[in-house]
Symmetry: C2
Subunit: 427 residues, 2 copies
């Protein structure tokens, strides 16, 4: 079935500002609360949020097999469960409904009032209930930088790294959408040169520039997903900030991996951009050498050209861009990550989320964390207001943006923006 929603020539009768991340070629999926305090599953065109439940009730999805309450829910999990064919049918139909040549909804004032909200009037929610969250570690540049900083500069990459898309389990309960502020965590750390640990506010809060993909039900327990089928089980992507407390991480992570240094907060952008929408931005990934084992081998183009940017905005100040990276630098593809994750029969459900790991590029200005950008504090970053940062200060907002552009079409992810507050005070 063709992805007619991707037609680069299509215009919408809804106004789309120039360089908007949400032209009619995007049609992402999300969940929001309206000003009437009703929760809605929707999409976005320009600066408008569109209520898909209302569209369905008004019969605009006629002919597409959908349960009556498909879009009358708090999350997208059931819609994602319906599979790729349904996602494509619905997205193609939405493109048709909002096509500038289609008068059906355009000229129905009553329906428009029910279906369309201004973005400024809605509050974005988490788009899915995330059953399990996995975070990979798939940027070679990031893994090399971390290895040089913390372990042996001569053997920065660990022996398994070029053979395995290394990953670990994260915490679902503290994943929050863009806009929710987070608190500087308390934690146990071993100060440099000390023999005994101390407990107090973390002194080195970092961001990690990541993206994540959301899966559908992929398998029964025991069954693997072959690498060549894996993309069929990926619904779409979001931007992700994997908040990290470096001092807590350093003391806790051997031998079982990061735990409290990561699980205090993970922020994601609220609109899931579908893999269908990203199709035109497919590109070739880095050459893999050595050749991976057969269960991870794939042909063709499985990377995506997504421009990424991180900015820090101090309290009452202007944002300073501190990193420009690209998702195409990832060494391991999403298909390889999902094939590896299920190679042991691990069950993957609708709404599960898998993070890329920090996306660092080859140049110092493309590194995806303060740890790397400041080279562990040795080269502080100067913001536009003249202040310096080794890590993130209380009151700073970290803003990650991402967009794709090719053949005259530009679409993007919006942003994940979250402010760091001082430690929580219990009432």
């Amino acid at each position: 079935m063709p992805i007619t929603a991707n037609n680069p020539k299509r215009m919408s009768w809804l106004d789309v500002p120039q360089d908007s991340d949400f032209p009619i070629q995007n049609i992402p999926f999300g969940v929001f609360i309206t000003k009437e305090d009703v929760i809605a599953i929707g999409t976005r065109i320009g600066d408008y949020a569109i209520d898909l439940g209302a569209l369905q009730q008004l019969n605009y999805f006629k002919g597409i097999e959908l349960t009556d309450d498909m879009f009358m829910q708090d999350t997208l999990n059931d819609f994602i469960s319906d599979g790729k064919k349904t996602w494509r049918l619905v997205r193609n139909r939405i493109a048709t409904i909002f096509d500038s040549n289609n008068s059906e909804l355009r000229d129905n004032k009553e329906h428009r009032a029910i279906v369309i909200c201004k973005m400024e009037d809605v509050e974005m929610q988490l788009p899915v209930q995330i059953g399990d969250y996995t975070d990979f570690y798939s940027s070679k540049e990031h893994a090399t930088n971390v290895g040089m900083l913390f372990r042996d500069p001569e053997h920065a990459l660990l022996p398994n790294w070029l053979h395995i898309p290394v990953g670990y389990h994260g915490r679902s309960s503290t994943i929050v959408p863009s806009g929710i502020p987070i608190h500087r965590p308390m934690g146990q750390t071993l100060p440099n040169g000390e023999e005994s640990p101390v407990f107090g506010p973390s002194r080195s809060i970092d961001f990690e520039l990541e993206m994540a993909f959301i899966t559908t039900d992929a398998n029964v327990m025991g069954e693997n997903i072959p690498v060549y089928e894996a993309e069929d089980y990926i619904f779409g992507m979001v931007l992700l900030n994997d908040w990290s407390a470096r001092d807590i991480q350093k003391w806790e992570y051997i031998p079982l991996g990061p735990f409290l240094s990561k699980n205090f907060a993970t922020s994601i952008s609220p609109w899931i951009v579908t893999m269908d929408a990203l199709e035109p931005f497919r590109t070739k990934g880095p050459k893999q050498d050595p050749n991976p084992l057969p269960y991870l081998q794939q042909k063709g183009r499985h990377a995506f050209d997504i421009n990424l940017e991180v900015a820090i905005e101090p309290e009452n100040g202007e944002p300073t861009v501190v990193s420009n990276s690209n998702y195409k630098y990832m060494y391991w593809s999403m298909s390889q990550q999902l094939a590896h994750h299920t190679s042991n029969g691990c069950r993957v459900n609708s709404g599960d989320m898998m993070g890329s790991g920090t996306i660092s590029g080859p140049t110092p200005n493309s590194f995806g964390s303060m740890l790397e950008l400041t080279w562990a504090g040795k080269k502080p970053i100067t913001l536009n207001d003249g202040t310096e940062r080794k890590f993130i200060n209380d009151g700073d907002t970290v803003i990650i943006k991402g967009f794709c552009k090719t053949n005259g079409v530009r679409l993007g992810f919006g942003e994940v923006s979250s402010k760091l507050l001082p430690p929580f005070v219990r009432k």
Copy 2:
């Protein structure tokens, strides 16, 4: 409010076989499917499963504030959300209803037929929807054994171990109740002496003898749970088998911890034994030296005297007990684990599960994994049928049991029993 359900002298009008894990002093909570294919929340006395939804509809919980559908659900999450006071009221009431001196239900044949099922007629389910699963590593004997086997025998315990209840995130999607067979996972491993990894069935499948506790909603994001309050947020405990593939683990776990070596399956016993029921079995834990940091310090008795046993039953054979351990050996208490887990503000929800880590005792016959029992294969175990085991064979069933006994009362957890099948074959 007194825990009247714990009255050691109470007898039930339901028959309870001698040495049953489920006398009227237990009253655990679970979820089962009846022979009419209806899902029910229930408790167990002797060899009877009791439908709490039916009891509520028949007005046996009169006077206890409960939503009408509290027990008409697929999981215990909402009941657990209601908090400790409700758990205690309901459990005390159940004890009263089944007290041998109470004729109300005993003499109502019609009600009895609706409320009581034979255990052989029901199929146990997962008792809760587990949002997040954490596994700790809190047995000093186990951590020391692993350190001696894999790292430096002279410095077996890592520097952070005596200061932190070390833990990591596990996978919720592959947690299954007792009785569900699991498949030997495929995976990537580096054979001894080789330079390149291979992919194939794991050659070293192990069990890990663990227990786990289930929490209620404990905090908002950012907020910590002080160690002295932590027990109020723990609903109860189950037995847990943390299936492990040692060869996969060895190759993948540095630097982010175990991943595919663990997430193919985790088996739990289906009845949650409440902390109220375990109250009489409270005991003193091991002395902690050095003294933990203040946020982990606690007074009083926070360990529990729970006898644990692991048996291996070969295909068509009889079980051989291979380990006898006790939960009281745990160095870090559940309260310390929960206080540490939330010390950074990590949100804990109703139905979250936290595993103890392998529970090894001080003597070789009390070790909680094949890795330790056979000392990494150097001392194979001989089963009663004369066959030897270094790890678990296809066709073997691993059975973990646990019970407490004091002052004439004995109660237990039943068992978690699961069979290892050969690798999954995709249809």
